[in-house]
């Protein structure tokens, strides 16, 4: 089974080579048979990659330590779930997951792309083939997960304990679905450049792909942030760490792409810019992969790194980014410019959004890469951390956040800013009220906090205002308004929900950062302490034996105002003997949207334990907001208008579509 997986992987590589050349040649020479090769090859390639992945996963599940990768990252006593997630909890396996998703998307294009113009489809599949071939080669030459070990050891070295966690089961697949999803947009962009023309179907195809990739990436980032929050035991949710930045840059660029694709679809404007953004977004994803894998940057959460891999990925990076940008420079001039619009209009607001988002992505990029650059040129070693990013990124985001509610209220081509402002008076009033309440009743000195909360409220109310206006609440009879509300297109709902989610996330961040209370102290069993008005008692440490670890569980009890025990919080220090590695399992109790967070430190000689405790008000909103954004993206995806118009041979369907349910 293992060797069949290995063989399937090699075979998939061979197919990816065919996929990268034959359809392209077919498209160039107008040969339909050659073009048609792309589809079946992409689907078969996906099947083989899936077989290969299953083979590795089954080796993990069966603890087949004759596979080096399994031996290094698994243990026979691990729970089944972590045996399985261990498949991608390491460099080699995660790269296999990466190409699995890549070929999956390629197969989707092949399967659902029947209504695309044949040359576009062939070119897209060919570009996907290039990416696939490069990464298959990377895996086979530098990171082969199927290398064998004879004689096989009897016990594995265990999966890195911090990765033995449910969060990890979900985080990388989501993140990769996002990263790799943008590869489809990239392929569409490069295919358009190869063809020298942008079909009308282009924008319609790119937008759903961007949306889907963006939804996954949002989920991946939110999940990663939550994982770091509870698993690292520092109570922080975002560290501006290079690895985090690596996923955040494509997100920023992808968000920009999402918005410019709307303009392109609706107004045929910003074509060239959208194309460039599609290329840049995927390039940033590749750059992220490079940064994480090569070890050129110090990060708190990175896989084991290997410089030779770094060089290989750097080559892939240069080839794809350099190649696509060169192609862009050559061909962009020949593309026709699109519609025109006034600065104050829906398009104008989206351009502004793009300007800020890409600039923000650029500052994050500079902050991430500047230490490398400086060290290479002067030898000085610096670290660029949260203070830098908070200043630059924050400064760039404030105007964007302020402008968001205006965007959806402006008309296409020519908008009326004053009318929009007038309609937003209620939201503005609500935001002002939030600011005043915060300053007057909570903290007189917290002006910035109050403004942050004000902006968050502004975003939430702005999104609701948009929905209310579009369904005509207040202007038309309630019954009509409700039926209009129900009939609103998915993309309108999606926009409002996503913007609302952003507001929630902002509210969570501002509240958790500004109003958190922290306690560091040593506690003996029976001691009580108080954090943010809540009394917590420490009941002592109790040993516990896990399947592949031992732990000391600290039992904490939240005592109610009546002196009775209300809630139990277990925080523990684990020890994984196979790797001789300790980990901290923070104890977290969610109350409403807020959390009590207890982290254990060292045990002292007299039996006392160092305890760090936080009360984090509204902290869960950070990730719930992310979830809401995902929902927004998904709702937008269901909008029937995102489906691509089919050519004449399926003429029955579009005619149906033209008759809306509401009429």
């Amino acid at each position: 089974m293992v060797e069949i997986g290995h063989f399937a992987l090699v075979l998939a590589f061979a197919l990816s080579l065919v996929q990268s050349l034959v359809p392209l040649f077919g498209a160039r020479s107008g040969n339909e048979r050659l073009m048609a090769v792309g589809g079946p090859v992409a689907v078969t390639g996906f099947g083989l990659t899936a077989l290969s992945f299953l083979a590795l996963a089954s080796a993990y599940l069966q603890s087949d330590f004759s596979v080096v990768n399994v031996w290094e990252n698994s243990h026979s006593l691990q729970p089944m779930l972590y045996k399985f997630t261990g498949t991608w909890g390491n460099h080699e396996g995660s790269m296999l997951l990466w190409v699995l998703i890549l070929t999956f998307f390629g197969a989707l294009v092949a399967a659902f792309g029947a209504n695309l113009p044949a040359t576009l489809r062939a070119n897209v599949l060919a570009v996907q083939g290039w990416i696939g071939a490069a990464f298959f080669l990377f895996i086979l030459t530098t990171s082969n997960p199927f290398t064998r070990l004879i004689p096989a050891p009897i016990e594995g070295r265990d999966l890195n304990p911090v990765l033995q966690d449910v969060g990890l089961a979900i985080h990388p697949p989501l993140l990769y679905l996002g990263y790799v999803g943008f590869s489809v947009c990239f392929s569409f962009a490069v295919a358009a450049l190869i063809d020298g023309k942008i079909d009308a179907a282009w924008a319609r195809w790119v937008r759903p792909w961007t949306l889907a990739a963006w939804v996954f990436l949002t989920g991946g980032i939110a999940m990663g942030s939550y994982w770091a929050y509870y698993e690292l035991g520092w109570g922080g949710f975002w560290f501006w760490d290079p690895v985090e930045n690596a996923s955040f840059m494509p997100w920023l660029a992808g968000t920009a792409l999402l918005h410019s694709a709307i303009v392109m679809e609706k107004r045929s404007a910003l074509k060239i810019w959208t194309l460039l953004l599609a290329i840049l977004t995927f390039s940033l994803s590749l750059l992220g992969t490079f940064l994480v894998r090569s070890g050129v940057l110090t990060s708190v959460h990175a896989f084991a790194t290997d410089p030779s891999r770094g060089i290989f990925i750097l080559c892939i990076l240069t080839l794809f980014i350099g190649g696509s940008l060169a192609l862009f420079a050559l061909r962009a001039g020949s593309l026709t410019a699109g519609g025109i619009f006034q600065p104050i209009s829906r398009e104008g607001s989206l351009v502004l959004n793009n300007l800020f988002l890409t600039t923000a992505a650029a500052t994050v990029l500079i902050g991430t890469l500047y230490p490398l650059l400086l060290e290479a040129t002067t030898g000085d070693k610096i670290s660029v951390g949260a203070p830098f990013f908070n200043l630059t990124f924050g400064a760039l985001m404030v105007p964007v956040l302020l402008l968001i509610p205006f965007g959806p209220l402006l008309a296409w081509k020519r908008g009326d800013i004053f009318a929009a402002a007038q309609r937003l008076m209620v939201a503005f009033g609500g935001a002002l009220l939030a600011v005043l309440v915060t300053v007057l009743f909570i903290d007189k000195a917290a002006v910035f906090t109050a403004l942050g909360i004000g902006i968050a409220v502004w975003l939430v109310l702005g999104a609701l205002t948009d929905l209310a206006l579009k369904s005509g609440i207040g202007n038309v009879p309630l019954k009509t308004a409700i039926s209009r509300f129900v009939g609103l297109p998915g993309s309108v709902f999606g926009t409002a929900i996503a913007h609302l989610g952003l507001g929630l996330t902002l509210l969570g961040i501002v509240s958790a950062v500004s109003f958190e209370s922290e306690r560091i102290l040593t506690m003996h069993p029976g001691d009580t302490t108080e954090v943010a008005g809540r009394v917590v008692r420490f009941d002592g440490l109790h040993p516990f034996q896990g399947p592949n670890f031992t732990e000391d569980r600290g039992r904490f009890v939240l005592v109610g105002p009546d002196g009775k025990d209300k809630l139990e919080v277990i925080s523990s220090k684990r020890f994984y003997p196979a790797r001789r590695m300790p980990t901290t399992e923070a104890g977290i109790k969610t109350m409403g949207f807020s959390q009590l967070y207890v982290s254990l430190g060292d045990e002292q000689t007299d039996g006392a334990v160092v305890v760090r405790m936080w009360w984090k008000p509204l902290v869960t909103l950070i990730w719930l907001g992310g979830l809401v954004m995902m929902v927004g993206g998904t709702v937008s995806l269901t909008d029937r208008r995102l489906r691509v118009g089919a050519p004449a041979r399926r003429s029955a369907r579009p005619a149906d579509k033209a008759r809306p349910v509401t009429t």
């Binding site: 600039t359 500052t363 500047y370 610096i382 660029v384 040593t522 430190g601 160092v610």
Partner: protein
């Protein structure tokens, strides 16, 4: 305004914005970036009082002293020079003697480094890259 002038003014505004963003970025890089030092580097470096830096090295053997409550002090060494560091809080799981650490903070008036964050990565082989290179350059550490 003619269309051409309008377009020019838009480009002007955009350019001004980009220049402002670039200026802000580089201002922030100058102000907010912290330099990395090994203990021996500190002899030649000139630091402003209270300047934030990152100090990296190995945790000196036998130097970890747990003080009142949650106060901890330890030595960070590169086998040439050693710097006393104090920290208030929970040390990372993999904080051990003779292991690489990176601490961030500033020097107090008494020459003791007051750290507000201590990093040790969660990989048993972890040696922070800066520390590894510094130690290799001094010939006191080799990768096995």
């Amino acid at each position: 305004m003619t269309r051409k002038r309008k377009r020019l003014s838009i480009i002007g505004v955009g350019a001004a914005f980009l220049i402002a963003a670039t200026a802000l970025t580089f201002y922030a890089l100058g102000q907010k970036a912290s330099y990395f030092f090994m203990p021996a580097d500190l002899q030649t470096a000139t630091l402003q009082p209270g300047q934030r830096i990152r100090l990296g090295g190995l945790v000196e053997k036998g130097s970890i002293v747990r003080g009142q409550g949650t106060q901890v002090s330890f030595g960070v060494t590169d086998h040439e020079k050693s710097v006393k560091v104090t920290y208030n809080g929970i040390l990372p799981d993999l904080f051990r003697e003779d292991q690489g650490v990176i601490t961030e903070g500033s020097f107090g008036p008494d020459g003791v480094f007051i750290a507000d964050s201590v990093l040790a990565k969660h990989d048993e082989n972890y040696m922070p890259k800066e520390v590894a290179e510094g130690l290799k350059a001094k010939g006191v550490w080799q990768e096995n």
